[in-house]
């Protein structure tokens, strides 16, 4: 059974600091998705990573994928309060052959002024 784990589960950081959220998954997949969720809201797509070595950046967020290590990272540069939210990674098992996204446990990010 595919498991997706995120680390840390909760992150409190100061504005201007850098940090990385890690997403590990337990079986083969070559595509990984990052979503953001604000309290009481739905999921907003951030990044789609479709191959080993993929790197994508949007503003202060950068995501990467290492399929050999079964690891994705979401790096936050010079955090600002507006980035406070819960971040989920999600994986299609078996390289997208099936159709259900398996989500990680989520990382609650709180950026303090």
């Amino acid at each position: 059974e595919l498991k997706v784990e995120q680390n840390p589960l909760f992150l409190s950081m100061q504005e201007g600091k850098n940090y990385t959220i890690y997403c590990n998954y337990s079986t083969t997949s070559d595509r990984l998705y990052w979503y953001r969720q604000d309290p009481g809201k739905s999921l907003e797509s951030l990044f789609v990573l479709l191959s080993n070595g993929a790197v994508k950046q949007e503003g202060r967020l950068m995501a990467s994928l290492d399929t050999k290590a079964r690891l994705s990272t979401l790096h936050i540069t010079a955090a600002v309060h507006d980035l406070s939210a819960t971040y989920f990674c999600a994986v299609y098992p078996y390289g997208g052959a099936t159709n259900k996204l398996i989500f990680g446990t989520g990382t609650l990010l709180a950026v303090q002024p």
């Binding site: 739905s42 789609v48 299609y92 159709n99």
Partner: protein, 115 residues
């Protein structure tokens, strides 16, 4: 264009009652998914439709849960004899399956509370 929409946004019901939750996917998206999200957790897969048929219903927790998509667009998730443990946010997503990233786009969710 319009995103995925879900109605109602909130539903409060009593234990034992029947509820229906509606999802209207992005126009042209052939794939539709239902997930359930409990407080503090990530979404959990329930069922996937490709067109009108349920291609994978392995996530439905028991036979009280049922979903339909009769015309390949709007879908309804039906829950019979609701239990307090069914309380959660029910999310719907759609994707243009078979094209590129197969990225799923989520609706705002229906918050179901069973008293």
């Amino acid at each position: 264009g319009a995103g995925v929409s879900q109605t109602p946004s909130n539903k409060v019901t009593e234990k034992g009652k029947y509820v229906e939750l509606r999802c209207d996917p992005i126009s042209g998206h052939t794939a539709l998914y239902w997930y359930r999200q409990s407080l503090g957790q990530g979404p959990e897969f329930l069922i996937y439709f490709q067109g009108t048929g349920a291609a994978d219903d392995s996530g439905l927790p028991n036979d009280r849960f049922f979903a339909v998509r009769p015309e390949g667009s709007v879908s309804t998730l039906k829950i019979q004899r609701t239990e307090r443990g069914d309380s959660a946010v029910y999310l719907c997503a759609s994707s243009a399956r078979g094209q590129g990233s197969n990225e799923q786009f989520f609706g705002p969710g229906t918050r179901l509370t069973v008293l």
